[in-house]
């Protein structure tokens, strides 16, 4: 049964020092407000898992909250590098960052195996790809029926998963719409989960019979944080702030400008700052 908490209490309960944790979102619904709260609470030694680590992981890495990252594509999409991630990899600043690197197919399959309670994922992948040489978790199995050699990776098992969604009802059922990535799988593969939502409603309202819903008994904590996915977006609420993603390149390139940005925008603010980015639902999500 999901508990409704303030963002500060929810992060304190769900995300703990040393966790293997995923703040998931495939471009859409990225839980930025929860990431900022995690920084404010000074979490450390995190193993950050995500298919597409973007600005929020650049920030967590830059403040020294992470000891390791498990990922498949670490960039600022359409813009370029994640400079804090690069600085940690190339120069060990502010601390060395261990990496475990996969392909998207491997990560997606690993999450699915984690949600399914299987020990590993099997797929046709990594053929001729050098990641198999540098990542000892990439192994293979021979199909007992056809003899085909297939790639395997361990199932994703998380201490905690953090996602953002459009809404939850008062019982704690959560609705995600649009690009849903691997968020459902991440929550189901985690011991504890936190969902931040744009709004809490009496009823989830009209939706497809096949809508992506996480029942209340699969979620640990819910916090209402309108605008909490900015600068990513919440379909039906607000658009991706592409100009911010472009501006981040300059902010993160330099250690001092990064630190100043964190001091002003993370340490000096609270989750209510995200409300200015929130928009009431428009169009078909209403």
């Amino acid at each position: 049964m999901a508990k409704f908490l303030s963002l500060a209490d929810a992060v304190a309960e769900v995300v703990r020092d040393g966790d293997k944790t995923a703040f998931e979102g495939f471009t859409h619904l990225i839980p930025f407000a929860a990431g900022h709260e995690t920084m404010r609470q000074g979490r450390k030694d995190l193993t950050l898992v995500r298919m597409t680590p973007d600005l929020i992981y650049d920030q967590l890495i830059g403040v020294g909250a992470a000891k390791k990252m498990v990922f498949s594509w670490g960039g600022n999409p359409g813009v370029g590098s994640l400079h804090r991630f690069r600085d940690a990899c190339e120069k060990g600043w502010p601390c060395p960052l261990e990496i475990e690197e996969h392909s998207h197919a491997a990560m997606a399959n690993a999450y699915e195996a984690g949600a399914a309670g299987l020990p590993f994922a099997v797929f046709r992948g990594y053929r001729g790809a050098e990641l198999a040489r540098v990542n000892p978790n990439i192994k293979s199995v021979t199909c007992p029926y056809t003899g085909e050699v297939l790639a395997t990776v361990p199932a994703m098992r998380l201490d905690s998963a953090v996602i953002h969604a459009q809404k939850a009802d008062r019982a704690g059922n959560v609705l995600l719409e649009g690009i849903v990535g691997v968020q459902k799988e991440a929550v189901l593969a985690a011991k504890r989960s936190l969902v931040t939502v744009e709004e809490i409603v009496d009823d989830l309202g009209p939706r497809s019979y096949n809508a992506c819903v996480l029942p209340h008994w699969t979620v640990t904590a819910i916090a209402a944080v309108p605008g909490g996915a900015h600068p990513s977006y919440a379909q039906g609420h607000y658009k991706r702030d592409n100009a911010h993603y472009e501006a981040w390149d300059e902010i993160a390139r330099d250690r001092d400008s990064f630190k100043a940005w964190i001091a002003e925008n993370v340490m000096g603010k609270g989750p209510e700052a995200f409300a200015s980015f929130a928009r009431k639902p428009a169009g078909r999500s209403q």
């Binding site: 990899c89 392909s103 001729g128 691997v182 658009k239």
Partner: protein, 262 residues
Amino acid sequence: MSTAAKLAWTPTEMMTIVASRALRNSDVCFVGIGAPSAACNLARLTHAPGITLIYESGTIATKPNVLPLSIGDGELCETALTTVPVPEMFRYWLQGGRISVGFLGGAQIDRFANLNTTVVGAYDKPRVRLPGGGGAPEIATSCGEVFIIMAQGKRAFVDKLDFVTSLGHGDGPGSRERLGVKTKGPTRVITDLCVMEPDPATKELTVVAIHQGATREQIADGTGWPIKFASSVADTPPPTTEELAVLRDLQARTKAALEGKG
């Protein structure tokens, strides 16, 4: 570039237009972000209105009005036939063999069209840490064939990759087959100077067409191995008025949207 400056289009526009022409109306295409995305949408807006564009975020048969900055902009979801979860995208659609063309870019390419988007320098001590493979390792082996679009230069077209992120033709004929890969792999590389295709016998990238304004010397200078030219090298047909107009409109709409005027 003095020759190119006299043309009514830029080398990048030429590259995008030539890349768009490689796509067929019947293709189901897995689109990489950046230059591939521009080329694929140009094809959809010109000669291939029936093409199915798929982005790895799960959007199938998407028809964006502006070019997305990322592979998961809301524009892609709103204009798609359907949006599926990411594990389904990689399992049923890509691994399931339902995609005819994968369109990739990269930081480095070698003579057998293997690609690197992982690191420059040693993997454990990189000089430049690049974003990584993302979908590319499986796109390269699961799509029916692969087109690659990359601006030419010695830092990109290298004699030896620092890291093999995704498989092209390995170390030559038979490489893909030995790894159990049944798809064709890279069949065409489109640059801002020319079009290359793997030689049928050696699998080595060979220049088959040169864009107007580009020279053999420029191509050789922009390639980190002794580049070969096919016995018959075509002149790339120049951009048509329609191709240029549609591409520039698309980019103007995209720019306006980014600046909040869309």
